[in-house]
């Protein structure tokens, strides 16, 4: 029964499925604008609460800026993550993914990319404004943006494993934050250390290297883990 197909044909149909899914998820995100704007609004509000809470002391704000912005970005990512597979799980689309014959890992990667473009990239683009707001020295502003650029995809990728595991649960979102925050700790430490080193005029290349390594590892491994987690949630 199995029909022989030329291998480039299968590769082509996999690429087509990847792009179709990416397009659909972006379209859906723009149809539901509240979901699109929520992480950004959340980040803005949380970061702007800090100067109000601890007083407008420029030196102090500059000192805590990397940590505050990164923690707020981390929280915003986790809040947005809960919806990553939720609607596909609820309406049976995930089952169709599994039946489609395309590798679930690839489809999970498409969903993560779409999710990062919608929920992660705006945070990166907003961060220079927040850095100025928090009186971060100009010389470390670029490093701040760079760490978020490298770090937020890692957050989405690692988070996707947790979402895959909790999507079948009624209140998975609460469990999700407990599950993934410990895994986020190394990224938070390395990223804020890079920005602080830049503020102090110290070399920060090693930290950026570590973040890049983290990104490469999570891009290659996390989709497999997330796909396996989804399969467990489905059965």
């Amino acid at each position: 029964m199995l029909t022989e197909q030329p291998s480039e044909n299968i590769g082509g149909s996999m690429a087509a499925a990847f792009l179709a899914l990416l397009r659909r998820d972006l379209l859906l995100a723009f149809r539901r604008r509240t979901e699109l704007l929520f992480p950004v609004a959340f980040l803005l509000v949380v970061v702007s609460l800090f100067p109000l809470g601890i007083g407008p002391n420029p030196a102090l704000l500059a000192r805590i800026a990397p940590g505050v912005i990164w923690i707020a970005a981390l929280l915003a990512t986790v809040i947005a993550l809960d919806g990553l597979f939720r609607s596909d799980f609820d309406d049976g689309t995930l089952e169709q993914f599994i039946l489609s014959g395309h590798p679930l890992t690839l489809l999970v990667l498409a969903k993560i990319v779409a999710h990062w473009l919608v929920a992660g990239l705006p945070l990166v683009l907003l961060s220079p404004l927040l850095a100025i707001w928090m009186n971060l020295p100009m010389e470390s502003l670029g490093v701040m943006v760079l760490t978020l650029m490298l770090g937020t995809p890692i957050l989405s990728l690692i988070g996707s494993i947790g979402v895959g595991l909790t999507v079948g649960l009624k209140r998975g979102g609460q469990l999700l934050s407990l599950l993934v925050f410990p895994l986020y700790v190394p990224i938070l430490i390395v990223a804020t250390a890079a920005v602080m080193a830049a503020s102090d005029g110290l070399p920060y290349g090693a930290f950026l290297g570590l973040l890049t390594a983290g990104l490469v590892i999570s891009v290659t491994l996390a989709p497999f883990a997330a796909a396996a987690a989804l399969k467990i949630s489905l059965s």
Partner: protein, 197 residues
Amino acid sequence: MLFVSEISFERYFEPVFQPVSFALEAGGLLLVTGANGCGKTTLIRVLAGFLHPTSGNYTCQAPSTAYVGHQLAIKDDLSVIENLRFMRNFLGIRQRSCKAVMQRLGLDRVAGQLARTLSAGQRKRCALGRLLLTDSKLWLLDEPYANLDPEGVGLVDDIVINHLAAGGACVLATLGNHRPGWASSQEYPLISGAGEC
């Protein structure tokens, strides 16, 4: 195309249905019937591979399977045409026309409407579009007649019979008395649990 021997499935150590065995050849239609809760949906989900059978085994020689169940897998925030276009591009069959599929389903009047504004029957028709956009030889249909008007029921029969005539096979779970008019169909009355009911 599909050989099933003594499949059983247990939920919380209780068998959902009595062991199931059947063979389905190309062009064959298997009607799974039985009362509410006798495990029709569970059986279909086991055959689709979503659930692992507790015992028994099955071999499926079809390279891929199409499944339409209770969860329709259409997106409320996409229009009918966008939903169908995604199904087509996702399944990688670009040469089929979504417009033709929509006409066949009787949805051309609501092409641009968001799926959330459709009636239950129209949503079902939209989900059945998947069958017109797939190359799969084996179809697993779980209550395909639910929510459909008599014309929609006729449409499902048409689609299924065309598929069977083209050498496909179909497992169809249904509750009602309606049957597609197909000669080589067999009926499988599913018996629930350990057999006491």
